[in-house]
């Protein structure tokens, strides 16, 4: 039987969730024996033409147009989507900027910072534009499985993967569920 294909992407996050995944150590060997990892955050894409996958995993919230495009395209190609970490699940620490208008935010960051000389706003057709608000992924597309945590513990990630690979879609159980 063909192994289920898994794609993971990294949106507006810190990579901590993927680090926590790598923290599974020898547990990684079991997971990699059970699945085929087709896409990871270091896969080089020009147009995000993802291959079909059984499971798509998302780390990070959605804060700009590129992340929005990745999320929509991933949703189209995956049977099941799993959100990793507080950013993907709730918006997380990125939502700190939601109280500040985008223009003011960029001006402060790229022009007014104390160490900046002759700063310019990063506005270019090649660059993704910021969305007015950072959103959790389930505010944009339907998500089947949520693994919150900052980062989610390796145990939480392993539990979620084991459950979904056996065809079960459930809430995170008390005891493993963590937000911090």
């Amino acid at each position: 039987m063909e192994k289920p294909k898994v794609a993971t992407v990294w949106l507006e996050g810190c990579s901590g969730c993927h680090m926590s995944f790598l923290d599974l150590d020898e547990g990684l060997a079991d997971i990699l024996a059970a699945v085929e990892l087709t896409v990871t955050p270091i896969t080089d894409f020009k147009d995000y033409d993802f291959p079909e996958a059984t499971l798509g995993i998302i780390e990070g919230a959605v804060g700009n147009t590129e992340q929005l495009e990745i999320l929509h395209k991933l949703r189209k190609k995956c049977q099941v989507l799993m959100a990793w970490g507080d950013c993907a699940v709730f918006g997380g620490v990125n939502t700190l900027r939601n109280h500040i208008p985008t223009e003011a935010l960029l001006t402060r960051g790229f022009i007014q910072t104390e160490s900046t000389v002759d700063g310019v706003l990063p506005v270019h057709q090649e660059l993704p534009a910021l969305l007015p608000q950072v959103l959790a992924v389930n505010e944009i597309v339907p998500i089947e499985i949520y693994v919150p945590g900052c980062p989610p513990s390796p145990e939480a990630i392993a539990h979620a993967l084991q459950e979904v690979l056996q065809g079960r879609i459930q809430r995170m159980p008390t005891g493993i569920l963590h937000f911090d």
């Binding site: 959100a83 507080d86 699940v89 709730f90 918006g91 997380g92 620490v93 939502t95 939601n98 109280h99 608000q133 959103l135 959790a136 389930n138 505010e139 998500i143 949520y146 693994v147 919150p148 900052c150 809430r171 995170m172 159980p173 008390t174 005891g175 569920l177 963590h178 937000f179 911090d180």
Partner: protein
């Protein structure tokens, strides 16, 4: 009293018998059945705001809040099924979505009732988008931060402030999702009428109110590493029960034991809750001896004790044993006090023994020995309270709290005489008498009440005597059935025994003669003053001018009396036992010996009203090498008796 009838009902299919009048929540908890709550707190009145305690009654489509619904005979209650779980989880999602409940940057993550509930109900995502509202963060207070973004508007803080503390500083403002907790009227905690007791902080279920101490997880760790230890606060004679939360011998916080069984209802004051977690000053962990060049040098215990024995022995030889003194803080435990007393009377029977607050004792002594008092709990039974010279907002904040509660709950009238009015506008009457005017004022009152009580004719005149307000005030005393007089430390500090004698007589008169104890409470300046005075550690007569050197045992909590240490400015030798290094000591002392703080020793402490005592267990371990006061004194007395120098 009528017996309350038991009624039977079914909870989760189990037949239970409970007293009529209970709520569904109380009935369930009495029978070990779990119903989740958030706005409910066992020390506070029921509120019914959060609806997490919803249960199904008789299969009705509409769920009811268990914390406010009374039980009824034959009721069939279901506390948990799919519908109820879904309702509770939805409530949690709404709470999380309304404000900033991102745990990863919250000071109380891991110690939060909202978070625990979300875990319990497996709320692993939100089905409603977060509102992303921004609210102010109030950082104006020295001890506490109020972050409205973390608030779930459960109102526990509002109820605690009103019901436990009687302060009503907190309330709600605005409406709906824009509702905020308000301090006074649209104010901030800092500079408000808040008494900084932290009751709101203790009952807050989220990170909306948190203290400024040990909040970082690097210091406080996870809750599984914490140990909670029950103890008592010995900083004043009320001996409030406490729970100290400790991690690896580091004190994280102190809380009151709620719900409290005593009239103070489990509250603590700012001293009891915050002072011990603040850094008091550089800790002394090994003996320091002043070198020939005047600088402090670290020393071994043996060398330091030899130096003390030698220094004091020299004074005994040169000036006689009556030039030696021993002074001890009345914050010390009974064990420390008696050991110190024993040390002085054994080593220098002619020496001078006193407590740091001895002058308060001598003022009271001048008004008659053994003035009987009533327990402080009787404050809530009085219909009139006269406070004279009370600065209880500082020394006995709980007394001020009980006074406010008496006003609120029992409509007790309160009159205040003295330079300060700790009750503020709630007092029916305030006579702002200066220290000099106190005797005149009290005399004027006594003459009005019963001319026999004023033995000295009042000298001088007081502007407020004869006014309409004064007449109203006298009428208040005359009309009262259960008048209570509270004498504060401002009065005992002045040293005017005559005023106190007058007040004792007045209390006796208002208590209908000598058959009953006069309704009188005397506030003591230090935590264990009552014991220090009754054990005879405080001197009955002060003889300071001839003193040349001695030993002071101080805890650092009661401060340093500049007169006390300053008057014999030409001391030849001073050794101090103290937990902390202070600049005042550094100027005066020749040797400093470290002792444990009160958090680090077991000890017995007496109630201020003399009604008994409590054994306080230690919650921390002293630093290595720091022995108890008893051990240090034993080691020192061995050296002194081994060197029986002959007086010249």
């Amino acid at each position: 009293m009528d017996a309350i009838a038991n009624i039977s009902l079914k909870i989760d299919g189990i037949e239970v018998m409970v007293p009529d009048g209970l709520t569904i929540l109380e009935a369930a908890r009495q029978n070990g059945i779990h119903i989740p709550t958030l706005c409910h707190h066992p020390a506070l009145s029921a509120w019914g705001g959060c609806r997490l305690c919803v249960v199904e009654v008789d299969g009705a489509p509409r769920l009811v809040a268990g914390c406010v619904t009374p039980v009824r005979k034959g009721m069939d209650v279901i506390t948990s099924n799919d519908r109820i779980i879904e309702a509770r989880r939805t409530i949690l999602e709404f709470l999380f979505a309304e404000r900033n409940h991102y745990c990863m940057f919250c000071a109380v993550s891991g110690d939060c009732e909202l978070q625990d509930l979300a875990y319990e109900y497996q709320m692993d995502h939100l089905t409603v988008p977060p509102l992303q509202q921004e609210f102010p963060v109030d950082t104006s207070h020295d001890d506490m931060v109020m972050d409205h973004n973390r608030c779930v508007l459960c109102g526990r803080c509002v109820r605690a402030c009103r019901e436990l503390v009687g302060d009503s500083v907190l309330d709600f403002q605005n409406r709906g999702g824009q509702s905020l907790i308000t301090v006074d009227v649209f104010g901030q905690l800092g500079g408000s009428t808040c008494v900084s007791c932290g009751a709101c902080l203790q009952v807050c279920p989220t990170g909306a109110i948190f203290d400024r101490y040990r909040t970082h997880y690097a210091v406080k760790g996870k809750s599984k590493d914490w140990v909670s230890k029950e103890s008592y606060c010995p900083q004043c004679g009320l001996l409030c029960p406490t729970v100290s939360v400790v991690r690896r011998n580091s004190l994280l916080r102190i809380e009151g034991q709620m719900p409290g069984r005593e009239p103070d209802r489990g509250q603590l004051c700012h001293k009891g809750r915050f002072d011990p977690v603040k850094t008091t000053g550089p800790r002394l962990t090994e003996p320091l001896v002043r070198g020939d060049d005047g600088t402090w040098q670290k020393s071994t215990w043996a060398a330091a004790l030899d130096r003390i024995a030698g220094g004091l022995e020299d004074i005994r030889k040169n000036n006689g044993p009556q030039a030696l003194f021993g002074l001890i803080s009345s914050c010390c435990s009974n064990e420390e006090l008696t050991r110190f007393q024993q040390f002085i009377t054994t080593c220098w029977p002619e020496g001078y023994l006193d407590t740091l607050d001895g002058r308060h004792f001598r003022t009271l002594l001048g008004a008659g020995s053994l003035i009987p008092e009533v327990p402080w709990a009787t404050m809530l039974e009085a219909d009139f309270i006269l406070q004279v010279g009370v600065i209880s907002s500082q020394s006995h904040p709980i007394i001020t709290s009980l006074t406010r509660r008496a006003i609120l709950e029992n409509k007790t009238k309160v009159a205040v005489i003295g330079p300060e009015n700790p009750i503020g506008p709630w007092a029916s009457f305030h006579l702002p008498a200066s220290h000099e005017e106190l005797l005149l004022t009290v005399n004027a009152i006594c003459i009005k009440i019963n001319p026999d009580l004023a033995t000295d004719p009042a000298k001088g005149t007081l502007s407020h005597v004869g006014t309409k307000g004064f007449a109203d005030f006298i009428k208040l005393i005359e009309d009262s059935e259960k008048a209570l007089i509270i004498i504060g430390e401002a009065l005992t500090e002045i040293g005017d025994s005559a005023v106190i004698k007058r007040l004792v007589d007045l209390a006796q008169f208002k208590s209908h003669g000598a058959s009953q104890a006069p309704r009188l409470i005397i506030l003591k300046p230090a935590g264990n003053s009552a014991a220090a005075w009754s054990l005879g550690v405080a001197a009955r007569q002060s003889v300071r001018n001839q003193l040349k050197g001695g030993l002071i045992c101080a805890t650092g909590e009661d401060g340093w009396d500049p007169v006390l240490i300053g008057t014999p400015g030409n001391l030849d030798f001073l050794a101090v036992l103290t937990p902390y290094f202070s600049e005042t000591l550094a100027r005066q002392a020749s040797v400093l010996l470290p002792i444990p703080t009160w958090m680090e020793v077991d000890g017995t402490y007496a109630f201020a009203d003399g009604s008994g005592s409590r054994f306080k267990r230690r919650v921390l371990t002293p630093p290595p090498g720091v022995g108890s006061v008893e051990e240090t004194l034993t080691a020192l007395s061995g050296r002194i008796s081994m060197n029986p120098g002959q007086p010249d």
